[in-house]
Symmetry: C2
Amino acid sequence: MTVLPNFMSATVDEQRLARSHDDLAAFGRASRGGVNRPALSDADIAARQYLIERATAIGCSITIDPLGNLFMSLAGRDRSLAPVLTGSHTDTQPSGGRFDGAYGVLAGLEVLTAIQHAGIRTRRTIETVVWTNEEGYRFAPGCMGSLAFAYPAERERLLAATDSMDMTVGEAVARMRRALSDPPERPLGFPVSVFVEAHIEQGPILEQTGNKIGVVTGIQGKKRFEVTVIGEEAHAGTTPRARRCDALLAAARMVTALERWIWDAEDVARFTVGQFEVQPGSHAVVPGKVIFSIDFRHPDRIFLEEKSSRFLEICEPLAGGCTVSVHEIGFTPPIAFAEQVPQAVQRAAERRCIPWMPLLSGAGHDAQHLATVCPTGMIFVPCEKGVSHNEAENATSSDLATGARVLLDVLLDIANS
Amino acid sequence: MTVLPNFMSATVDEQRLARSHDDLAAFGRASRGGVNRPALSDADIAARQYLIERATAIGCSITIDPLGNLFMSLAGRDRSLAPVLTGSHTDTQPSGGRFDGAYGVLAGLEVLTAIQHAGIRTRRTIETVVWTNEEGYRFAPGCMGSLAFAYPAERERLLAATDSMDMTVGEAVARMRRALSDPPERPLGFPVSVFVEAHIEQGPILEQTGNKIGVVTGIQGKKRFEVTVIGEEAHAGTTPRARRCDALLAAARMVTALERWIWDAEDVARFTVGQFEVQPGSHAVVPGKVIFSIDFRHPDRIFLEEKSSRFLEICEPLAGGCTVSVHEIGFTPPIAFAEQVPQAVQRAAERRCIPWMPLLSGAGHDAQHLATVCPTGMIFVPCEKGVSHNEAENATSSDLATGARVLLDVLLDIANS
């Protein structure tokens, strides 16, 4: 009978974890200190090559699934048991930060490294995963890899999605697999015992309250819309106001009215118009068409549905001769995580005397899809001023290491159960 | 002593003029019946090649100046006299119509053809010119060719202007000259006796009043601005409203407030926001920067200056934590044409019993620069519903021919004086 080493001997190395972040940020480095690493781009492929080398060096096996989700597996003693999964994503927004996504992957790699260096062999296999195209910037929808993992029937539809250059996800994945020397294939949707995702909070609450760990209890819901305003192109110098159907002036009024309509005293609702395209986009032509996006999030499904059901009604009286249509292009209902993982995170924080609080995630994450197939949870760590999706995104090495220590405990706890 | 033929024997051919418009519209044909023919593009070069062939066939000589302005000259009897110039431009807005610019060039070509077919030799040389880059869409500023002609000292600055692919005007002109088999060079700013530009009205007034000829008395003034709103990029799902500096919401409020500020009961002022660029332009990121254009026109210089002097003051209280700056990038003062050409146009219309009215041009035209170097005027013809800078732009063959007949009379009148 084997004597198991005390798993508290596995130790997260704060400096090593910080260096990992520096290393990864080199792939797709942007001009203002952040990262521009579109999903499946050369920079993303190089980032994954780096992770493969790190993981292989500590004895992990590498597999990849049809969506390009990449798994780094530290084998457990009982291969018949479903593995414990952790991880996040390596793609970023066009001017993204060094921690969003990267932290969840690197904390997972740090945990595997700490376990391997301590000579521990867990009962279940532990795997760190890189989900493909979480941000949804290069390809729509976001959280694509985890979505396909949770709903393998969506595979063909997702592989056919194209970027702005008309490259499909399928082509981009094939290109990546060749560049990574074709790791062995893994099926979508294999059994998983639990999924735990570490992430920066991307909000200001931990920093403001002085807590170091957010025990994430769920993810707020999100609706996405595309609003199309069609007017009439006309000459900017000659067309009297009375004869114009100016799509831009109409759209500007609509955006302002929608902002007011969503306004809540509690400041819980999140309303963002991030895209606003004007056609033809010449200074001397009255715009004939504007398409703008709405990203609308709230923890309460009823609030989301009631408010958004009246978007068209809000816009129409402001159209001023233009026509307006509101098209819903995405709905992710609010998610509440099952108790198992949040409780394990809370226990781990308490055992280490780390101040923690329950939190609801404002952002969508791959965890929302995994939550539909296995017990799932997230660990949030503070980030500076809550700034994210911004090159200035920042988090301290110490806070990152604290989160990784809690992740280590949770994974060992569950992998040995 | 030569007996001069009666110049009324020169006849504009309505069908030939209509066919010329069909022919020219094939170069850069757009999907909805209009034209996309950027200045000095392949389509523009092909259009000019077509004009050269037509002009050469009736015995015109072809010359080109350093800005690529193209001259088709029907020689007069007295080469020592400054020529009479007519013409307009062949470039279009990205989804432009078949008549804006094209009509002035083709009416000029039709007049040369009519004169040549009638066997008339005028005292002064008559030339039809294609001015380069009137629309200002590919290169800034617009009316570039005529500007350089009127102010040759500007030549180097204008040749160095670049398009969005960083090609300079100089390079694009050199490329065109090679493609057109290098016509002989003409200097910028050679002496001109008068300039007459025929153009569709691009407004609804002739159509509404039933007049067929607009005797243009001047061109309204125009100011262009670029407004930059700088906020802070942030995550759309996590950043509370109170912590956002949303450049788009601020810009939308500003556009609406500026629209109200410019509003005049007489509907004379023209206020257009034609460009509105959002950074980073991702649906899930709170916009950190918006740059929008203002095109503001009015016949009264004082109105233009007083209203625009307060743009910043209007915007600042609406910035909501963002910063805003207003940068003036262009000012064309209102122009009043000298009496000679407008009077000649009026006389020609009256002689032919064509209903006419005086008009002020709402749009800028190459004529505004020529007006600073020689007596200048414009002839407007009706266009359907006043629609222009739009693929649906339309004018009847009959109205186009009526304008060309007036142009013929005016040019013969002045060329024989």
